[in-house]
């Protein structure tokens, strides 16, 4: 072996080892940490134990958590366990290969494999236009679609689904993917319930009392307010009792955005009048402008009906008070009122940054321009169906792998064993690249894998047939092997480029699962070329190193 070949050996061994490490988080066991509530009961623990029978999972227990290790733990399982009583939170423990310096990623399972639901909603502009009695401009259309997206995001966050995906499609439709949701009706109810934008007057005296109430409860200062709907409701009930709130008032919470995120969290309590001053659709439009001092401000105009209500709300008796704007019962802004406005044109002043002004405008608009969403596509898959698909996919893959390997070994003998080895390597490389791309595997993706097994040996077949021809022409083994590989190169290249063209175009086809199929197929084509033209070629070089080799088992 010369020096070049030694380097090549080291490179190939290293590459294979690296690929194997990369696939560990995907194919290996996964560990899930279930954090329990302090008051978890023994029945609730028993329920967890029976969910994860010890034949299939390794179970660990500590004071406040429950550790599960095994195969088949995915986001859907995580979301399922989250709904168990007595469970506070569920987290995955990172695989060692996922940590630095390797930072491997894993292949995710698509909704069709792990169960879950996909909804595609389309803003129904026609119905808004009917209500407004005029045509919408394109700008308004994009704007209202964006608002709908934001609103949906808020609602889905509240539902506590992990790894939700929300995106806008080119056509303007909104696609929502929720893994592991067992109650599609519940989700639809949640995202379908009408959100309300309301304008109500703040009762300053009681707001102060509510703020005082928190003073001697340092717990909240440290941990912040609870975010769950139920906990917040209970908290507001407790405060109401303690500060003896009259019946015409109620406690709500002021929400602010967590810096640099899309999440909003409750920060302080606010006491509002139950009576509405103004409803969301009383506002006709809102836009950015300046106040008399040249500061940024929000200008808005009400409808004729709204103007009367607004005049009443801003009458002298309310001067100095704040008007709270709430969306879905979350107070998002509370500007103070100084003058009576009866024209229906008003301005909200304050020390606003441009960003704040824009947020406020979008909040007002959310109430002003209601978006009806029409469901244009729904796909939901039960978890049992998903597991069935994975199992049959793996079976098909194994069967195809073994059958093709046997065929190659029978037909090509020793050379067949080399190509069988290449086939396994090809699979390892494919999985490692897809893991590294954080790919989402779907059922058609598995079909792409199975198909690749059939295709992958094509390069070997072309090369071997060529070598056989060269041998038949009377060339020596060494020469036949090297010219076989050389001549086959461009054939393989041209043939595979055309497959790649088809796969590339397929990947442009809108829907997710087909993209998955195209990506697996393309990567399979590329890795199979690499394995055939580099690694198996190297193995043949090693075999034919002996100068006087007379026979080749092919």
């Amino acid at each position: 072996m010369n020096r070049g070949m030694i380097y090549k050996t080291i490179f190939i061994v290293f590459l294979i080892a690296f690929a194997v490490v990369l696939i560990l988080p995907t194919v290996g066991e996964r560990e899930m940490n279930i954090i329990l509530k302090e008051d978890v009961s023994s029945e609730q623990i028993a329920a967890l134990n029976s969910r994860f029978p010890s034949d299939n999972y390794q179970i660990g227990r500590s004071a406040d958590s429950f550790l599960v290790k095994g195969y088949g733990l995915n986001d859907a399982v995580m979301n399922e366990i989250r709904t168990f009583p007595g469970v506070k939170d569920v987290k995955f423990v990172q695989h060692w290969a996922e940590r630095k310096p390797i930072s491997a990623k894993r292949i995710n399972l698509g909704l069709d494999l792990q169960g879950g639901m996909q909804l595609v909603l389309m803003p129904n502009f026609a119905s808004i236009e009917r209500r407004l009695g005029r045509k919408l401009t394109n700008e308004e259309k994009t704007g209202s679609a964006q608002q709908a997206l934001e609103l949906l995001r808020g609602r889905i966050d509240q539902f506590g689904v992990s790894e939700p995906s929300l995106r806008k499609r080119e056509s303007g439709a909104i696609e929502i993917q929720l893994p592991g949701v067992r109650d599609p009706e519940g989700v639809k109810r949640l995202i379908g319930t009408t959100g309300r934008v309301e304008y109500r007057i703040v009762n300053e005296a009681y707001t102060k009392a509510a703020e005082e109430w928190f003073k001697d409860k340092p717990d909240y200062k440290e941990k912040g307010l609870p975010t769950g709907k139920k906990e917040l409701f209970e908290l507001s009930k407790k405060i109401s009792e303690d500060i003896t709130l009259p019946d015409n008032l109620e406690i709500m919470f002021f929400y602010s955005r967590v810096k640099n995120t899309k999440r909003i969290v409750p920060t302080t309590p606010m006491v509002l009048e139950k009576k509405l001053s103004l409803a969301g659709d009383d506002i006709k439009k809102a836009y950015r402008g300046f106040d008399d001092y040249g500061r940024l401000a929000v200008h808005f105009a009400t409808t004729t009906e709204g103007a009367a209500k607004f005049a009443e709300a801003t009458s002298k008796k309310n001067h100095g008070k704040r008007l709270a704007i709430s969306i879905d019962s979350k107070v998002r802004s509370a500007p103070s009122m100084n003058v009576q406005i009866s024209t229906g044109n008003a301005i909200i002043q304050g020390d606003f940054t441009q960003e704040e002004v824009d947020t406020l405008i979008s909040i007002i608009k959310e109430g002003a321009l209601p978006v009806d969403l029409e469901k244009i596509e729904e796909r939901s898959v039960g978890p049992s169906m998903g597991v069935g698909s994975i199992n049959s996919g793996i079976k098909a893959l194994t069967a195809a792998l073994i059958a093709v390997m046997i065929f190659m070994v029978i037909y090509y003998k020793l050379s067949g064993i080399i190509s069988a080895l290449g086939l396994v390597l090809n699979l390892v490389f494919m999985v490692s690249i897809l893991s590294w791309l954080n790919f989402t595997l779907t059922l058609p993706g598995i079909a792409g894998f199975v198909l690749t097994i059939g295709f992958a040996v094509d390069a070997n077949v072309i090369i071997y047939e060529r070598i056989k021809e060269e041998l038949a022409n009377g060339k020596s083994v060494r020469l036949a092997v090297s010219s076989g590989f050389d001549r086959a190169f461009w054939t393989i290249f041209d043939a595979n480029v055309t497959t790649l063209i088809a796969a590339f175009i397929l990947s442009q086809f809108g829907t997710g699962p087909i993209k998955g199929f195209a990506v697996t197929l393309s990567i399979g084509v590329i890795t199979s070329m690499f394995v055939a033209l580099y690694i198996t070629k190297f193995i043949f070089e090693l075999i034919t190193m002996k100068k006087d080799i007379q026979k080749l088992s092919i």
Binding site: Q147, T194, L369, D372, E377, E378, P444, A447, L451, E465
Partner: protein, 319 residues
């Protein structure tokens, strides 16, 4: 090495087989009432639900008909579970949609007026079918739902057509660039042959054309070209090495030399697809079935369509 098969001399047999195949498949498709477009393209609802053992398909149909829904109900999966696929196509849906959705929209608008709503999701038929099932049977479990609106179907159909167009165009450009124009023509004919026959195969055997089927057909597309190129590549090589021989002989030799490869690769691919067919379920099953068919006609078209056509083109141009 000097022995080779006389493919070109016998090319007319191939032409006859192609024509007969097309006639049979077209007749079959027409007699079947055209293509069976699935809900991905025409829109509709597909619900898979699990029932108690006593429930049968006629009972489900009856319940749905009482609710004014004319759905197709079929047994799904193995005998050990009592699961059914309930599907409706858009034309059936449209029949009640006017009444139903109209009423619903009014209700939604009234609710909106009452609360100052900002968001209301209009529901379509899937909820109604589910409600009917849940009200009339005990222990209904909804295993899966697919509901596609008409807008999506049109969009997908359009993009599927664009796809084919782009695929053909790019392939032609690549072949013209790597080989010569006369090869492009033969490859195009082989592609059209394989893709059209596979489509007609779906029509003849009532295979529902959904998105996975389109993916399968594009795979056949790529595979067909792949097969053809290996032969063309050899023709190109032999053209430079065997300049003395006639074009017909060169083609015959090239097809013969690559024949073992063509057959072997098809065998390994068919083995893989066959495994998929045997083990995969439902959608994947149809997908595998058309690949089995498409790959088989792919071999035929490579040998009996793509290669002879290069010869024919050469003959016509040569005169």
């Amino acid at each position: 090495m000097d022995k080779y098969l006389k493919f070109i001399q016998y090319r007319f047999i191939g032409y006859v087989v192609t024509v007969v195949l097309f006639i049979v498949f077209i007749t079959g498709t027409v007699m079947n009432g055209g293509f069976n477009w699935g809900i991905d393209f025409v829109g509709g609802i597909k619900i898979i639900a699990k029932f108690d053992q006593s429930v049968t398909a006629p009972k489900i149909r009856e319940v749905l008909r009482a609710g004014n829904i004319n759905a197709d109900v079929q047994k799904y999966g193995g005998d050990e579970v009592n699961e059914y696929v309930i599907s409706t196509r858009l034309p059936e849906r449209a029949a009640y949609a006017n009444v139903y959705e109209g009423a619903q929209e009014r209700a939604a608008e009234m609710a909106a007026a009452a609360t100052g709503s900002t968001l209301a999701v209009t529901n379509t038929g899937a909820e109604r079918i589910q409600a009917l099932l849940k009200n009339n049977f005990t222990n209904v479990q909804i295993v899966g739902i697919d509901e596609v609106g008409p807008a999506i179907g049109d969009y997908l159909k359009k993009s599927a057509i664009y796809l084919f167009f782009w695929c053909v165009a790019l392939m032609m450009v690549y072949l013209a660039f790597r080989f010569e124009f006369r090869f492009s023509v033969g490859a195009l004919a082989a592609i059209v042959h394989d893709v059209a026959l596979t489509f007609l195969f779906c029509g003849m055997f009532s295979i529902e054309i959904n998105i996975p089927i389109i993916a399968g057909i594009l795979t056949i597309f790529g595979y067909s070209v792949n097969d053809t190129i290996v032969v063309y590549d050899r023709i190109r090589e032999n053209l430079t090495n065997m300049a003395k021989q006639s074009f017909m002989e060169i083609i015959n030799r090239s097809v013969t030399q690559t024949l073992s490869r063509t057959i072997l690769t098809t065998i390994t691919s068919l083995i893989a697809v066959f495994c998929l067919y045997m083990i995969g379920e439902d959608v994947i099953n149809d997908f595998a079935l058309i690949l089995l068919f498409g790959f088989s006609v792919g071999v035929f078209s490579t040998i009996f369509v793509a290669s002879p056509l290069v010869y024919e083109w050469n003959r016509i141009k040569g005169k």
